[in-house]
């Protein structure tokens, strides 16, 4: 399950890279549009659809990784810090993308940061869990 979760996270980040881009500048262009490059801004329904479907999967992944992380032998405050970062980055991703309708670039930047921070964090934690499992130190 952990291997599949890692693969899912990597593929999700890759798919988002193709859809929106990997850098914040590419996200600005895709979401807010760019007149010089003749790129239309993302429509409200496309934005909501993408976010709703994405968050659904990411919350499930977060719950599954949380359930495993809690049972590891890692220090208590490390786990709390990871969970805080995880849930906050997901909130930044969702709220930032919606807020981009009013806040423009700041909202997109928050969302971009939240999305990639969450993916990097969860992949790191999932790898850590995998290593602990393989060393039978779970």
């Amino acid at each position: 399950m952990v291997i599949f979760l890692i693969v899912a996270l990597v593929l999700d980040a890759m798919a988002k890279g193709i859809d929106f881009g990997m850098t914040s500048a590419m996200w600005f262009n895709t979401i807010l549009g760019n007149e010089e490059k003749f790129i239309d801004p993302l429509g409200m329904s496309d934005l909501l659809l993408s976010l709703h479907a994405d968050l659904f999967g990411l919350i499930l992944i977060f719950i599954l990784i949380t359930a495993l992380l809690i049972r590891t032998s890692r220090p208590k405050y490390f786990k709390i810090a990871v969970l805080f970062l995880g849930v906050t980055s997901l909130l930044f991703y969702g709220i930032g993308l919606i807020a981009s309708l009013w806040m423009g670039r700041l909202g997109v930047a928050l969302s971009w940061g939240g999305f990639f921070l969450f993916h990097l964090l969860m992949i790191g934690i999932a790898l850590d869990i995998l290593i602990l499992l393989s060393r039978k130190k779970f």
């Binding site: 709703h52 919350i59 719950i63 809690i70 709390i80 849930v87 909130l91």
Partner: protein, 146 residues
């Protein structure tokens, strides 16, 4: 100190679930409209192919996601078996009603718009509740282990 942190963490997670539910509702309204009449019109205009385009991936993906989620709910000890069973039946039942209502709307049975709205809101709320229960269980496990 760490109980306070866990409480804040649980609140942040609830905010995330609320955000996801608001997004679901907002998406539905953006696509179909506010008024029940708009919702009836939205589904009445759709072809069978258009309906199936939404119905097929939803049926496949949501049923798998529900099965995975509810499997984990089975391990939870903070709620009774009766409540678990109720939520499992409720989630699958509301999901079937929610997904099949557009077919009846498409066939001209306008009454199903209210069935669709109630099933949609009920499903989103029940799923949100199950996620919160699962997350709270993880946090209470955390408190017990330390």
């Amino acid at each position: 100190m760490h109980h306070q942190l866990l409480r804040i963490l649980a609140l942040l997670f609830i905010a995330l679930v609320v955000l996801q539910s608001i997004l679901g509702g907002a998406l539905f309204i953006v696509l179909t409209g506010w008024h029940p009449h708009d919702i009836v019109l939205y589904y009445a205009q759709k072809s069978l192919h258009g309906l199936l385009e939404t119905l097929v991936p939803h049926t496949l993906f949501i049923s798998i996601a529900l099965m995975g989620t509810l499997h984990f709910l089975g391990f939870i000890s903070t709620i009774s078996e009766k409540k678990k069973s109720l939520f499992i039946h409720l989630l699958f039942g509301l999901f079937i009603v929610d997904q099949s209502s557009p077919i009846f709307l498409n066939l001209g049975m306008a009454f199903f718009v209210y069935v669709k709205i109630i099933a949609f809101v009920g499903f989103e709320s029940a799923l949100g509740w199950v996620w919160i229960v699962m997350f709270r269980e993880s946090l209470s496990d955390f408190s017990l282990h330390h």
